[in-house]
Amino acid sequence: MRIVIDTTKCMSNGLCESFAPGLIEVGEDALAHAVAQPTTDADIAAAREAARMCPMTAIELEDDT
């Protein structure tokens, strides 16, 4: 699974980085970035929750296939 962030939607509220620490981070540019891709089941669950709760629905999860 790959985290893809639409930074044109990002509002930098940081909910994503609190749901998926180590995977998504809001940078100095006040935009969320994927800093790592999920590998474990726990990572995948965290990324799904970040995507579900993002107020701007700016986070897409793409299958690897």
Partner: protein, 433 residues
């Protein structure tokens, strides 16, 4: 589709709307009764539909194109306040002139009461000021301030927690960010109090309303001057950021929009975090086991803050206006209807949260609560509020032991069916040396 909503009053909310002390303290009981009625219930007293389940609330607030934020505190407050203000304005030409000016501030929608595309343009211009990296840089000043506040009462062995800590921590931080000098803090607090007095309270006197609008006028004059100062000479503060905010392709903010934003920063930066801090302290005091657990493991504090936000939601719900006919939770909503999106109710919806009435420090989806809303209006200051809550509680636990309610303490809640928090919290403690 069910039958159209009956035009009868909603008995479940009667005690809450009458601001009975037990009802405003335990508002969750009334939301639970509403949830048993269905996902969407007509509340005749407020002339609105209450939206009470998690799923429908998220669908409404994530669809600003169909559900407008132009009347966020609800039709009853707006209509009643306006008609009574018109009476006051008719009293004298001076009063008319002064109060018209106060009303002007609210006339330019900004953030909370704005809709896309204006909202999104405003938000893009201020997001950066409250982004997580900025808030991380504010952590040290927040910590230093929390320690200074404790210094002022630690030797007494007692304090009134709300006014000596919970108000002053967020108030001083937001005042500092807005470039308000410490000498003006008391005035700043008075404005904040006066601005919120009508929210969720339909029982105000003419004098209360007059004071509210006069404060708006003072605020307007004060910040109009500040904006002009910063325009000429930028400083390292939030006002300067907003005055000089530029996003490619976006129109700069008007002075009216800026004033609207600053009044929201003032209220949102004070009221809500004050209530969060006080509710957290009250929960710790009322549950000695919780207090001991959190004392022993400070890494549990962020989870505690999320659970208090969920269970003691400071803003219980805000309003939207349906801009077209629609169906919500099986109920027909005619265009023009007001919807009361009850975040506090969603936060105890067992469809989203298992055992919703239990404070669970290990709750996996704790942050999924709607205390900060959802969608484009998601609280701009959420990261700041979380940091202030976490750091505030850390410092208090570092410095105070054996915290209990003062012997003669009676706990009263703010008289509001929208805002939720204690008015005062007299505590005793032992200083940790």
């Amino acid at each position: 589709m069910t039958d159209p909503a009956p035009a009868a009053s909603c008995p479940h909310l009667e005690p809450l709307l009458a601001l009975e002390p037990d009802a405003i303290r335990m508002s969750y009981r009334h939301w639970a009764e509403l949830r048993d009625e269905g996902p969407v219930v007509w509340v005749d007293q407020l002339q609105c539909f209450a939206v009470i389940r998690y799923e429908e609330i998220v669908s409404v607030v994530r669809d600003p194109g169909r559900f407008s934020s132009r009347m966020p505190t609800g039709p009853k407050m707006v209509n009643e306040t306006m008609s009574r203000l018109q009476e006051i304005m008719a009293e004298s030409p001076e009063m008319f002139e002064t109060l018209s000016k106060g009303l002007m501030i609210g006339s330019a929608p900004a953030l909370l009461n704005a809709d896309p595309p204006a909202h999104d343009r405003q938000r893009a211009l201020v997001n950066r000021a409250f982004s997580p990296p900025r808030v991380r840089r504010m952590e040290e000043p927040i910590r230093a301030l929390a320690n200074q506040l404790v210094d002022t009462f630690v030797d007494r062995g007692e304090c009134e927690f709300v006014h000596e800590f919970a108000v002053l921590l967020p108030l001083t931080i937001i005042a500092g960010a807005l470039g308000v000098p410490d000498g003006d803090l008391a005035t700043f607090k008075r404005w904040s109090d006066d601005f919120v007095v009508a929210i969720g309270n339909d029982h105000l006197s003419k004098d209360d309303l007059k004071r509210m609008l006069l404060s708006q006028v003072e605020f307007f004059d004060y910040f109009t001057d500040k904006i002009e100062e910063r325009r000429a000479q930028p400083q390292d503060d939030l006002i300067s950021d907003v005055v000089h905010a530029e996003v490619e392709g976006e129109e700069p903010l008007t002075t009216m929009e800026m004033l609207g934003m600053f009044s929201q920063f003032l209220v949102a930066g004070n009221e809500t975090t004050t209530k969060l801090l006080a509710s957290t302290m009250l929960r710790l005091i009322e549950d000695p086991e919780l207090m001991a657990t959190v004392r022993a493991d400070r890494s549990l504090i962020p989870g505690l803050i999320e659970e208090v936000l969920r269970l003691d939601t400071p803003v219980q719900g805000l309003f939207r206006v349906a801009d077209q006919n629609c169906e919500l939770g099986g109920v027909e909503i005619p265009a023009g209807s007001s919807l009361w999106v009850l975040y506090a109710s969603a936060n105890r919806d067992d469809g989203e949260f298992a055992e919703p009435d239990v404070l669970d420090l290990g709750r996996a989806n704790a942050k999924a609560h709607l205390a900060f809303g959802q969608g484009v209006h998601y609280c701009l200051g959420a990261s700041l509020a979380r940091a202030e809550g976490r750091i505030g509680i850390e410092i208090l636990l570092d410095r105070l032991d054996d915290i209990t309610l003062a012997d003669d303490a009676t706990i009263e809640y703010e008289p509001s069916y929208v805002l939720h928090g204690v008015r005062a919290l007299p505590i005793t403690f032992r200083a940790i040396s």
